[in-house]
């Protein structure tokens, strides 16, 4: 019940804010009459990485931005050779499929 309420609340918030797909910014009308460019800072109160992992449905101690393998976290990644970004919409689709192959694919991306 609580999770349902929380999800609906988050959906409402993000739907209203509607961050642009390109920049992650949205415009907010300020009290002084100007528009402000804002970005959502999520989980600003969370202390450490395990909470981020839980929120993103990821395994512990993995990057929540990219799909870097666990055994390569300590290696230098040049700016032009970054690992692919996480596509949570894809994870959602795979998760809903709930087949053996889909679960294996999800597990390889550190999701669950």
């Amino acid at each position: 019940m609580l999770i349902k309420v929380f999800r609906q609340l988050l959906q409402l918030l993000t739907f209203k804010l509607n961050p642009s797909a390109d920049s992650g910014y949205y415009d907010v009308l300020c009290a002084v009459g100007n528009f402000r460019r804002c970005t959502t800072v999520f989980a600003a109160w969370l202390a450490d990485c395990p909470e981020y992992s839980d929120l993103h449905h990821l395994k512990q101690h993995v990057c929540f931005w990219c799909e870097c393998p666990k055994n390569k976290l300590g290696e230098y990644v040049p700016p032009d050779k970054q690992h692919p970004w996480r596509d949570h919409n894809l994870y959602h689709t795979i998760s809903d499929a709930d087949t053996k192959a889909a679960n294996a694919k999800l597990s390889s991306c550190h999701g669950h």
Partner: protein
């Protein structure tokens, strides 16, 4: 949970400066440095230098070493990162030819992390600063293997212990087999060789099993991209939110009656404060609007006035901070009334001679007629001693910062050691000391003000400072490994100088070569490195 939200979820998390850098990575770095100091038997020296780091205008000296502190908060970590590289550089000075490459790599790696942290703290970025960040990160990854032993976890240590037991058994068998054939000297040599072999194999085993595969190291590789996307990192730091715990929760809790209905009271308390803040902002906005409308009615300046060149920003002269009230019984050793009394109360003979001769030289040099002052005149001069000086400096973003340089002379500071801060003293314009840009770091010894009567009867005030002077080594050029400038004490004849406080342009920070604190024993006070990592303004002035 977030998968049901109609937005790009990867955009939501922002880099948290406090937890991923200040508490996370800096804490790891401390542990690695601690390990390398312990391995190479430099821990005593490291702790001694750490405890003898001098004060800065917003930095108090530490009284606990790293292992003595039970918990290191983000604030303490941030403070320590301001001088850690200097302490590591001074601790790892010298060493055998085999140790030197390891020490150099450790300094390089620490420097790379410090530089990455310094650049990440910038409030605005451009392509150059972001490329410097990338460069620092790649250098860190190049040299990080020097700290690999410090990353050995329980599993690696367990495997190394098993290997050790196995090797010790082999050594015992070898010893028993050759017990009759080996002479005592041969036996000693063989045993030493065995121990070297065992320790080497254990290190290799630990290094093989240890790695840097943890999240906080990896997150740094995303930061440049995050800065390009969302701007400077400081604005997403959780530091602000954690500071707000005090004002939002603790203050209102203290204001409540601590009973069961404390929550409505806290909310009412916060509401009142917010109402007052909003009212204050409204009043400020109204006042600003009135000023703007008044300014609009003024006559505009003529073309000549507009064409006049902008005057450079003038900064206030250094300002002394209150005379010491010695007559109140706090310091019954002396009541300074005149110059002779100051000389009599200066216990150090070198200081006494320096104050006497240098003050006379300074007054002679600065006075209009270059008049010579006799001993009687000098002794009768009215004098007042001060314990600090306020200097206005320009910050990295052009804002004015007031720095307070303390100088307690031989007296204690807050029931501790005496506090005589280091300051930047400007030199002749023609003399440039490499990256120091014509400035030298000097240690204040005494701050005083004297009044002198001219030949025409008018009184002239001189605001003077006695300081321990230094001269730069290597012409003020940066050290190749640590990128610090080293200075040493000036020759004894000119070591103590009296100069006008107008020459002080800000606070400086240095790290001594050896321990100088009374708690850690004797130490030489002759060579220091100028700590350019103390703040961003000094970093920009001194580093390049």
């Amino acid at each position: 949970m977030l998968r049901h939200i109609p937005c790009i979820i990867s955009y939501l998390p922002k880099p948290d400066f406090l937890h991923s850098i200040q508490i996370g990575r800096l804490d790891h770095r401390q542990k690695w440095i601690f390990h390398i100091m312990k391995t190479h038997e430099r821990l005593d020296n490291y702790n001694a230098i750490l405890l003898s780091v001098p004060a800065y205008h917003d930095l108090t000296p530490k009284n606990k070493s790293y292992e003595e502190g039970s918990q290191w908060s983000g604030k303490k970590m941030k403070e320590m990162s301001r001088y850690l590289l200097g302490v590591v550089t001074q601790s790892l000075r010298g060493g055998s030819p085999a140790q030197r490459p390891i020490f150099n790599h450790a300094i390089e790696c620490t420097r790379a992390l410090s530089e990455f942290y310094m650049y990440a703290r910038y409030k605005s970025h451009d392509d150059a600063t972001l490329s410097y960040m990338e460069d620092a990160l790649s250098r860190f990854h190049t040299f990080k293997d020097v700290f690999l032993l410090g990353r050995a976890g329980k599993k690696a240590k367990g495997k190394a212990n098993a290997l050790r037991i196995e090797l010790v058994k082999k050594r015992t068998v070898d010893e028993e087999t050759n017990a009759e054939t080996w002479m005592p000297s041969k036996k000693r040599r063989e045993m030493n060789a065995w121990w070297d072999n065992i320790s080497h194999d254990i290190d290799v085993s630990k290094e093989f099993d240890a790695d840097f595969n943890f999240l906080k190291i990896h997150l740094m590789s995303h930061w440049v991209e995050q800065i390009r996307r969302y701007g400077a990192l400081q604005q997403y730091s959780a530091e602000r939110h954690e500071q707000a715990h005090k004002t939002n929760l603790k203050d209102s809790w203290n204001a409540s009656n601590h009973n069961l209905n404390y929550l409505p009271q806290e909310i009412t308390f916060q509401r009142r404060i917010l109402c007052l803040e909003v009212r204050e902002l409204n009043l400020q906005a109204l006042a600003q609007r009135r000023e703007n409308s008044a300014a609009a009615c003024k006559v505009l300046p003529s073309g000549a006035d507009l064409a006049a060149p902008m005057r450079p920003q003038s900064y206030a002269k250094p300002e002394f901070m209150g005379p010491q009230h010695r007559s109140e019984g706090k310091h019954p050793d002396a009541i300074i009334k005149d110059f002779k009394a100051l000389l009599d109360n200066t216990h150090d003979a070198t200081h006494r001679v320096a104050i006497y001769s240098r003050t006379r030289e300074c007054i002679k040099h600065k006075s209009r007629n270059k008049t010579y002052i006799s001993d009687e005149q000098l002794h009768a001069i009215e004098l007042c001693i001060y314990h600090g000086i306020k200097v206005q400096v320009e910050g990295l973003d052009g804002e004015r910062i007031t720095q307070m340089c303390r100088c307690t002379g031989s007296q204690s500071w807050r029931s501790g050691d005496q506090r005589n801060d280091w300051v930047w003293g400007t030199q002749c314009p023609g003399r440039c000391y490499g990256v120091l840009n014509g400035r030298l770091s000097w240690q204040l010894q005494q701050l005083f003000n004297i009044k002198l009567q001219n030949e025409d009867g008018a009184f002239v005030e001189y605001w003077l400072a006695l300081a321990l002077t230094t001269i730069p080594e290597n012409s003020g050029n940066l050290d190749l490994v640590s990128k610090f400038v080293q200075v040493r004490k000036a020759p004894a004849a000119i070591a103590l100088q009296v100069f006008r406080v107008g020459n002080i342009v800000g606070c400086a920070h240095v790290i001594p070569e050896m321990a100088t604190s009374c708690k850690t024993g004797d130490g030489r006070k002759e060579r220091w490195i100028v700590n350019s990592h103390i703040d961003l303004a000094t970093w920009n002035d001194v580093y390049n």
